[in-house]
Amino acid sequence: MKYAITGHTYGIGQRAFERLSPNIIGFARSTGYDITKEEDRRRIVKESLDCDVFINNANFGFGSTHMLIEMARAWADLPEKKIINVGSQIAEVILPRKDLFAVNHAFHYQAQKASLKTTHYNLLPLVKCQMTYRWFNYVGTESIIRKFPHFTERDYITIDAAVDIILS
């Protein structure tokens, strides 16, 4: 089984990449692949063609929605291929009116992840390839623990647990 993953240079993507090596190729902004750019997405699609599973993990603007649509188009008639979309609990909740919004643009993040989820479910009846949408709440990545220093172990799942959910 050969995998491709976006956003493999830190956090959840990095762990998934480590666990699935050497049967995995990775695409990240820091290695020259920006999913908000059409020509970069086209290269990602092309270079992933002989993989069996594509993990749509990187989150950058609405790029992951574009990434999903373009990958699903390429694999539409291939029932043995699989696309895994990495969502977030934020697409499942109603955000409080104000506080979060000002602090970290949570509404932008919510709109992006909700778009990925909606597009995933809209695509399902249109393609023959397999597709899953997986989500979780906070994961104990470096950036989350730095951002929320008051978190205890009960406030997040481990990176490995997140990878298990993605691959389930």
Partner: protein, 163 residues
């Protein structure tokens, strides 16, 4: 009543601008809604308007435009934000129209963001208005076989937006 409108140099937006007392913002006049700084300028320059018509379509940027103007207006009564959607959010795409998936995802992001904002019961009013094909120059050039029954007029589209 003072209006602000994005995408006022073509099609429906241009017609709306002709009919209303409105400020216009478009790429050709120096306001690109895909650019966060340009959106901030639009929000600032629209501050004295009563109604904001989020008409321009540029990828997912109209969702960002909505969120930015909503953030500025959320606690202001008597302000209205009208989002121009499309019938594409109301239908299931046929299998042979995968080419429309991106456009559908963009308009759905706008529609669902309006729904999420309204679930917060904002003080300002936030609306989503949609229609199918409109007889703009661009549409008529693209679909030369269209007959009158296949589309609504620009004026009818503006009526729906303002309803």
């Amino acid at each position: 009543m003072k209006y602000a409108i994005t995408g006022h140099t073509a099609g429906i937006g241009r017609r709306a601008l002709q009919r209303l007392d409105a400020l216009g913002f478009s790429r050709s006049t120096g306001y690109d809604i895909s650019n966060a700084e340009d959106r901030q300028r639009i929000v600032y320059e629209s501050r004295n308007c009563d109604v904001f018509i989020n008409c321009a379509h540029a990828g997912f940027a109209s969702t960002y435009m909505l969120l930015d103007i909503y953030y500025a207006w959320q606690d202001l009564p008597n302000k209205t934000i009208i989002n121009v959607g499309s019938r594409i959010t109301e239908i299931e795409l046929p299998k042979d129209r995968r080419d429309l998936l991106t456009y559908q995802a963009e308009k759905l992001a706008l529609k669902e963001t309006v729904a999420r904002i309204n679930s917060l019961t904002p003080v300002c009013s936030v609306k989503y208005r949609w229609f199918a094909y409109v007889g703009t120059e661009k549409i008529l050039n693209k679909y030369p076989h269209f007959k009158q029954g296949d589309y609504i007029t620009e004026d009818q589209a503006v009526d729906i937006i303002l309803s």
